[in-house]
């Protein structure tokens, strides 16, 4: 396992630095997960103060990103890591960018949720959004778990799930269009809801990105813009020779 490799460092301090940064990333992930959860709850339950709280707390995500970024730069400058360690740092720098974007999308959703709370609620009580929200937050959760465990299989599973989110997004969009045609008075609300759905879809993409960084971190393979089936076949075939440093 990669974690075992990490502990074989000449310098124990370096090892501790790496582990600390990794923990900070996961702590930031935990906060983002909660923000997302709160934003969905705020919309589904029509809790305007919760939505505002999400929008207010986004600055903390930004602070965490800056602080982790600083620490990564410091490690790059002072330790000049190579091979697996370098990949860990690169993956961390990319991951926090995606986490920060997830935070931004959650902030936007929270803000819209607090505005929607004052409007009339639809008959289905945002059931589709609740479901989509659950799928997306599960993806974020699993992607971060895969990051913590360096678990390539789970990461691949998360990446595959993104297609489901895209389908769901299409379905909600079609449904919204029908509603808008039936009753033009709902257009304003439906447009706001579409913003949230769009945000959730984007969060799914970011979760997919994070799981791709996990695969990169463990195997040294950049799987962006390649079909997942190819990736899986290659990883299975070349598991012995995997770990090619870019």
């Amino acid at each position: 396992m990669e974690t075992a490799d990490l502990s074989h460092h000449i310098s124990r301090r370096f090892n501790e630095d790496l582990e600390r940064v990794r923990s900070k990333v996961l702590g930031m992930g935990g906060f983002v997960e909660q923000q997302l959860q709160k934003a969905i709850t705020a919309l589904v339950e029509g809790d305007s103060s919760l939505g505002e709280a999400v929008a207010m707390d986004d600055y903390q995500v930004n602070n965490m990103e800056v602080s982790i970024d600083d620490e990564c730069s410091r490690i790059l400058a002072t330790r000049a890591p190579a091979a697996g360690d370098l990949r860990v740092i690169v993956a961390i720098i990319k991951t926090i960018t995606d986490l920060e974007r997830i935070g931004d999308e959650a902030e936007k959703s929270g803000y819209i949720a607090s505005r929607l709370a004052t409007m009339e609620r639809p008959a289905d009580k945002y059931r589709e959004i609740k479901h989509l929200g659950r799928v997306v937050s599960e993806m974020v959760h699993d992607a971060l778990d895969a990051f913590a465990r360096m678990d390539v299989d789970s990461a691949l599973r998360v990446a595959r799930q993104d297609r489901l989110v895209d389908e769901e997004y299409e379905a909600i969009q079609r449904q919204s269009i029908t509603f808008m045609m039936e009753d033009p008075r709902t257009i304003r609300r439906a447009l706001d809801v579409m913003w949230v759905v769009r945000a959730l879809e984007r969060i799914g993409d970011h979760a997919k990105n994070i799981s791709e960084y996990v695969i990169y971190m463990v195997h040294g393979k950049d799987i962006r813009h390649t079909s997942l089936d190819d990736v899986e076949r290659e990883l299975r075939a070349g598991s012995g020779t995997a770990g090619v440093v870019p």
Binding site: E19, S23, G27, F31, E33, A148, R149
Partner: protein
């Protein structure tokens, strides 16, 4: 004679016999030394053969029978067999005990996770695996805070104050609440106890909602009653005899309104979690405001002092801090006679910020002090009703302080007065904006 000593004599006898036989044979052959050497060589061969059999058996003792050798060799083998058997017996008992222990901890209705000093997972039972979604063996050695990422739990770990459990809502799972408590033991090792408190939390939510709704529902009829009583009190056509009772009814209606207001505030305080961050509160300005409030009372203590020993501000929720401090000051004013005095003091030190209200009032008997912050708890039922308190003031104070990570200390001597002190942790202190600028330019 002991059998062992007997055997040693037997062995020594055997060696002596060998020597004598060798000497005898040598004498017969005419060369004493050759005979002796031959006899000793034979003896040595016998000893070596025994040693070889013993060593071979020790290597293969799991499936080979012990060699049948006489004398001291046989005794040694017997000892080894006995030792071996005893060890196996102890080992079996130990394994059994271990298995029992493991089975009982696995059957515990609560989750248990053992963490080392680096907060890495060393062991966890089945329930912990289920509640925290841990994978057996694969997750051993991983840091717990990498897998359990709820911000509340991370703050709890960072604060390293494990006296109370922390309740988190896992991301996955509808309406699940987990209570986590860390128990440190040994060399910085930690025991993490996990239990599912969803049911308790739901019941608690139902209770809170009930109190909040009931108070809210009671408020509107009470407003109507108060309104009519007020009109009636000013009605000149009314018999003067009923004016007294009407005034009393108005006072009681006002008290009820006060109680309902406090109940609503309490349920609001309970509903939300800890105050994170907050705005800086200017304690000096707040205290001078509270002093004016006391002096505006129809009957107030002669002397009301404010002592500010620190320029630091308190970061928190301003309305809540105001409510807590004013409740404490109100109490002091209520229970201090007109010739007494009250002192409010704000100071900071290494342990954090402190706000104290000291009065020269009646004092509180020691047995009542631990229960003061309970709802509707009364030290002296007759007197406190007459002074018109809701009985919820100190409960509100306690809740506000809890939400700010602070604690309340009560000291009192009967007949001499009481002192209520709020201790705020250092992270709740904030330097005033102006002061920060001057230190930067300096």
């Amino acid at each position: 004679m002991q059998p062992a000593t007997q055997m040693w004599w037997f062995t020594v006898g055997r060696v002596l016999t060998t020597v004598l036989v060798g000497l005898g044979a040598g004498w017969l052959l005419g060369n004493l030394w050759t005979g002796l050497a031959c006899a000793l060589a034979l003896h040595l061969g016998w000893v070596l053969a025994n040693l070889f059999r013993l060593e071979w058996w020790l290597r293969h003792r799991n499936y080979a029978d012990p060699p049948d050798v006489g004398g001291v060799w046989g005794e040694i083998i017997a000892q080894v067999v006995r030792l071996h058997r005893r060890k196996r017996f102890h080992k079996q008992r130990f394994v059994q005990l271990m298995r029992q222990l493991q089975r009982s901890t696995a059957a515990l209705p609560n989750g248990v996770v053992i963490l080392n000093a680096q907060r890495e997972i060393v062991w966890f039972n089945r329930m912990a695996g289920r509640l925290l979604e841990l994978r057996s063996t694969a997750d051993l050695g991983l840091r717990i805070d990498n897998l359990l990422r709820a911000p509340e739990f991370l703050r709890y770990l960072a604060r390293a104050d494990y006296s109370n459990p922390v309740v988190i809502r896992p991301t996955m799972g509808e309406d699940t609440y987990l209570s986590l408590q860390v128990v440190p033991y040994g060399d910085g090792q930690l025991l993490l106890l996990v239990s599912d408190v969803s049911r308790q939390m739901r019941l608690e939510a139902v209770r809170r909602d009930f109190v909040a709704n009931a108070s809210h529902e009671l408020r509107s009829p009470l407003t109507v009653i108060s309104g009519y009583l007020e009109t009636l009190g000013h009605d000149p056509a009314l018999d003067p005899e009923v004016l007294g009772p009407i005034a009393e009814m108005r006072r009681q209606a006002e008290r009820m309104t006060q109680i309902i207001r406090d109940l609503l505030e309490l349920s609001r305080l309970e509903e939300t979690d800890e105050v994170v961050g907050g705005n800086p509160v200017d304690v000096a300005a707040l205290l001078s405001l509270l002093r004016k409030d006391v002096l505006a009372r129809p009957v107030h203590p002669r002397e009301v002092r404010v002592r500010i020993d620190s320029g630091m501000q308190l970061s928190g929720d301003e309305p809540e801090i105001h409510s807590a401090f004013s409740n404490l000051v109100d109490n002091a004013a209520k229970y201090t006679p007109a010739e007494g005095s009250i002192e409010m003091r704000w100071w900071t030190d290494g342990e954090g910020g402190h706000f104290a209200v000291t009065d020269t009032g009646f004092g509180i008997p020691a047995e009542h002090i631990p229960r003061l912050t309970e709802r509707f708890y009364r030290v002296d039922a007759g007197r406190s009703r007459a002074t018109g308190g809701s009985g919820l003031g100190l409960a509100i104070v306690k809740h506000v302080l809890q939400r700010h990570g602070a604690r309340l200390e009560v000291r009192s001597t009967l007949g001499e007065g009481s002192s209520f002190t709020c201790h705020f942790p250092p992270e709740r202190l904030a330097r005033p904006a102006g002061a920060a600028l001057t230190t930067e330019t300096a």
